[in-house]
């Protein structure tokens, strides 16, 4: 309870700071602030999908259904944050590039990623028996994660993209105002905390569903 309240206050406080304390970047102007939501959402997407892959492999090793609960929950939340990153990016693209969708390599990549994990959920829904669903979707999830580094990091680097590279740029350094950097990292921490909370909730629901199913 206390943890949730702190998390809420933390994110709210830094959101206010994003508007009244951190400066704007010259070219980006007012759209600078998308940085504090868009990139943490993309970060949580990668973390969640990685978590899903990790638990898929653990499931295949141990056959403990608890790992399947984690893998499924992480994939669902990963998709949710992927949608947040896509939509916030699309709104930003409208403001900066003049249209919501241009098939820029980054947009293409994240859209492919959404489809890859939507397919994971479609696969899960097509298998009734629990152990079989856990095993087959773990196989798919482990294979699907192969595409994540390609889509998130390799493709946008190879093809010319208009997308700004504040975090994962080829020079590998951050050229940001210190105040922007502080708010950005604080939001990154906040989003990660938000993910951890959602993940624990979803896993508890999955456990209950499992017990209900057994009864």
């Amino acid at each position: 309870m206390i943890g949730r309240l702190l998390l809420f206050l933390w994110i709210a406080a830094w959101m206010v700071a994003a508007f009244y304390w951190a400066p704007l970047v010259p070219v980006l102007g007012e759209t600078t602030r998308v940085l504090y939501f868009h990139i943490p959402a993309a970060w949580v997407t990668v973390v969640a999908l990685g978590w899903s892959m990790l638990h898929s492999i653990l499931y295949l090793r141990t056959r403990n259904l608890e790992h399947d609960h984690h893998a499924a929950a992480a994939a669902e939340i990963g998709i949710l944050f992927c949608v947040v990153a896509t939509v916030s990016g699309s709104l930003w693209a409208k403001a900066m590039w003049g249209s919501y969708w241009n098939w820029d390599p980054r947009e293409t990549s994240i859209f492919f990623l959404l489809l890859v994990y939507a397919a994971y959920l479609a696969l899960r829904s097509a298998i009734e028996q629990e152990e079989r669903r856990a095993r087959l979707s773990a196989i798919y999830s482990a294979l699907a994660f192969v595409s994540v580094p390609f889509l998130m990091f390799v493709v946008p680097r190879i093809y010319f993209s208009l997308h700004p590279d504040p975090i994962i740029n080829p020079r590998g350094k951050l050229d940001m105002d210190p105040r922007i950097r502080i708010v950005f990292f604080a939001m990154l921490v906040g989003f990660t905390g938000l993910y951890a909370w959602l993940q624990s909730l979803r896993v508890r629901v999955a456990r209950l569903e499992h017990r209900l199913d057994q009864a």
Binding site: A119, A126, I139, Y140, L143, A144, V146, F150, V155, I158
Partner: protein, 224 residues
């Protein structure tokens, strides 16, 4: 206990030969796939006409035709085992990895046959300028490897679900999209006279990563 190392290679080879023999005797899968590829090709060609000077579109449409042919046919190898109830026999004589590798090789041969018919026909019907054969074939080979690699593992997974036919295309397509993107951009570049190094490396790395992950996962494919 005696080592059985040599028999895995023998199992892969035996499965590949069995697949080819079954396919050759019925020609059911091959005929259907070829018919599908040629029909797709015809509708594309009919809809857009000859595109002699639009090499950007030529690359894209070629891979769309090939992707559809792959999606319509590559799950066949496993679905046939499930529908014929022969998977028990197969699982009793070979390890899951040997089965999957045998099917992967068969899927590669299958794709090569489809491409051998479709690609020349495509180039002729669309009035395409001659491609740079080295680059073109390299893209075709690596693209097929990545398509067959993802289709084999996912085909094996899908064959164990309800509604396997309908689900295969939807579940395997997203993992094939990066292949499509790189192959289209490379094919376009070789017609435009540009470099294809980045695309070839991307395709090679993606195929290698898919196959490496598959090799670790094959052993869990069948357990009930």
């Amino acid at each position: 206990m005696p080592s059985n190392g040599s028999s895995s290679g023998a199992a892969v080879w035996a499965i590949l030969r069995k697949e080819c023999r079954s396919e050759w005797r019925t020609r059911y899968g091959l005929n259907a796939a070829l018919l599908f590829a040629v029909t797709t090709l015809t509708s594309v060609s009919f809809a857009v006409g000859r595109l002699t000077d639009r090499t950007d579109l030529l690359g894209a449409l070629l891979w769309v035709v090939l992707l559809f042919a792959a999606l319509s046919s590559l799950s066949h190898a496993f679905v046939r085992e499930v529908e014929g109830h022969t998977l028990t026999l197969l699982r009793l004589v070979a390890s899951p990895t040997a089965i999957a590798l045998g099917k992967l090789l068969f899927n590669l041969v299958f794709l090569a046959v489809i491409e051998a018919v479709t690609v020349p026909l495509y180039l002729a019907l669309m009035g395409a300028p001659p491609p740079k054969w080295g680059a073109f074939l390299a893209l075709l080979g690596l693209g097929s490897l990545a398509l067959a690699g993802s289709a084999t593992l996912i085909g094996a997974v899908i064959s164990q679900t309800r509604g396997r036919g309908a689900l295969f295309a939807g579940v395997s397509l997203p993992l094939m999209l990066p292949v499509l993107a790189a192959a289209v951009s490379g094919t376009r570049a070789q017609w435009a006279g540009g470099a294809i190094g980045a695309e070839v490396r991307l395709l090679a790395a993606y195929s290698a990563a898919l196959l490496a992950a598959s090799l670790l996962l094959y052993d869990h494919l069948w357990e009930d």
